[in-house]
Symmetry: C2
Subunit: 368 residues, 2 copies
């Protein structure tokens, strides 16, 4: 059964919504209280096109939080277990954010402007409120706010070709998770080599809502010969690639280590991170569960609306949190959290889906 | 154009979703990252029924935040400009919550269990993150978390009759914004006389998701003779009644005073509220804009997806943020924010809607 979405100002439109709807979006989700397209032609059509051509994605829902002031860098380091001390001003860092218990509050990308100015490009939670609360509570000298910045992503194997026509050959030199500020019309945008797919591409941080549609139109005009289409983060492709989704595959119940993000959690010299002690205790104790790729062979399943229990001998030993049929790998690809003792590659479990019990195979690697 | 909603675990189902969908919900919105029904038969049918009979509403989206510990009351008073010093343990208080700049972060109802334990029943923002951030930043001795509590509302003129059949005659004695703990099966729930309509009724704070459907079923079984139906906050009825919606009619750009919430903002003796100084400055300076009822005569308008500019002599002097056709008052009822100098009762302005310019009349009172 398909339900329609009731619109209101509260479910914010984006600078690109006019373009997205003219281009034929059929479904939305809501992310950071804003509309995020989920389907244009069909999830499977969009998936095949993404893997072959190039797409323009309205990812305005990746709202920015600006930290601005003398204490900006100090505050930024309090938020994350990742060591930011050597980060340069043209870098983007994937930064798990935790609370004092070492539990995930968000998994954004931090963009460093300079030591007194950062953007945090957030996943689906009001991280602004956490950052402001900590800053106010600690009496730090920093302003924390949501600027008028809306990312537009260009993703797919032909992304470099399309971007060159609009931003010039310089885009090709941008390294992974680095950015350059490139001219567009009478202004310039931060352009980073990043994005929520494994097909390669860029994210353009559009400053000023009124500049959204001119950029959208320029990309589509330039991309005709490249078979450019509107797109969006694709459920199948992101599961195949092991791209986690905050709120789906990890929540405030999970630590970064459980989410397989240990490599982003090197304690800093001053142990500045708010969750430092909790995470040290967790490390000493050992992990209780961990994110894994899960294959569910057989007929295609309807995507998960809720966590599906993973069972072993009648005992719950984990859950599947995202699942979709993969045409390329001819299995249901899934992401799950699996208890210690059951997370080895090849372990066979049972998953309880709304369509009945199915065999589930734990995999060490995603489909990449 | 109607868009479908793409389901995922991230858009949380509720303990009542099974009942809501079996009862024929057709549309949802997303509120606190959870599904909130918006239409069963039609907005207008649901509206007429709500005003005549009794409805059961899944308002699980009013998530609870628990403050638990020795510093709970001290923290609670830091959050709001409302004086909580005389609040008793059976009361619910509507409490504007502001940041250090005196801007609205949420407008929840606070439920006092005792001096060391509170629930905050939130509107649409992750207020948990603000409260936790402040608590951690200030080093307070209090735990802040989301308990497994999901409110179910019973609203409409026959609400007392229906509630009596399930909870006994004692419900009739509950005063407005007071609560009692009443037995249900082998447990008991907090039952408050409150709710997001002007038709009267109750909110039941269901502790334990597994207890949701038994209560849902009990209410529908008991309510057959009362013409009970599933319902939800109704756009028309709530605008007529002047019930503001956070994210629609007020955002982090607005102060409680602008929102007409001055009576909930009496400074406490110790000026404990985080936004105290900012609000004192605002009071001294005078208000720049204020919430008003707005009537838009003429043909029915499609409900607002974005703010509609209010104009006077070609200058923008405010905006309409919620609007709907009222069958009972045969005008489009609306809520807007109007600049000083234009907010007097009877002021005639122009509103720019997606269906063209229309006359807009500022009203001092809502339709109650």
């Amino acid at each position: 059964m398909a339900y329609t979405i009731s619109h209101s100002r509260r479910l914010r439109s984006t600078p690109f919504t006019r373009g997205v709807e003219a281009a034929g979006v059929t479904s939305y989700t809501v992310y950071n209280r804003m509309l995020l397209p989920t389907v244009f032609e069909s999830v499977e059509f969009d998936y095949r096109h993404l893997k072959q051509h190039v797409q323009v994605w309205d990812v305005s829902v990746e709202r920015q939080i600006e930290l601005n002031g003398p204490d900006a860098s100090r505050l930024m380091q309090m938020l994350t277990p990742r060591d930011l001390s050597k980060m340069r001003s043209d870098q983007c860092f994937y930064v798990p954010i935790t609370d004092e218990d070492g539990k995930m509050l968000n998994d954004p990308v931090a963009i460093k402007h300079d030591d007194t100015r950062w953007w945090v490009s957030i996943a689906d939670s009001d991280l602004l409120l956490w950052i402001k609360g900590v800053a106010v509570g600690k009496g730090l000298d920093v302003r924390v706010f949501e600027p008028d910045v809306s990312p537009l992503a260009v993703q797919g194997p032909k992304a470099d070709d399309l971007m060159e026509t609009v931003f010039g050959a310089e885009v090709r030199d941008i390294r992974f998770f680095r950015y350059k500020r490139l001219a567009f019309g009478d202004t310039s945008f931060i352009v980073a080599r990043s994005g929520y797919s494994k097909q390669g591409g860029f994210e353009i941080y559009v400053e000023g809502s009124e500049r959204g549609m001119p950029l959208w139109d320029a990309l589509f005009a330039a991309g005709k010969d490249l078979n450019v289409r509107p797109g969006c983060p694709n459920l199948i492709e992101r599961i195949e690639g092991g791209l986690l989704s905050y709120g789906n595959d990890m929540t405030m119940d999970n630590s970064p280590l459980e989410c397989g993000l240990g490599k982003f959690c090197k304690p800093t010299e001053g142990n500045d991170h708010i969750g430092h002690q909790a995470m040290a205790r967790e490390l000493a104790k050992g992990l209780a569960r961990q994110i894994r790729a899960i294959s569910i062979p057989g007929e295609p399943l309807v995507p998960a609306r809720a966590a599906w229990p993973l069972m072993h001998d009648g005992v719950r030993v984990g859950q599947v949190t995202s699942a979709a049929w993969s045409p390329d790998f001819t299995t249901n690809v899934a992401i799950g959290m699996v208890d210690a003792g059951h997370w080895e590659d090849g372990t066979e479990l049972t998953v309880q889906t709304p369509e009945g019990e199915r065999k589930a195979l734990v995999r060490e690697k995603f489909w990449i």
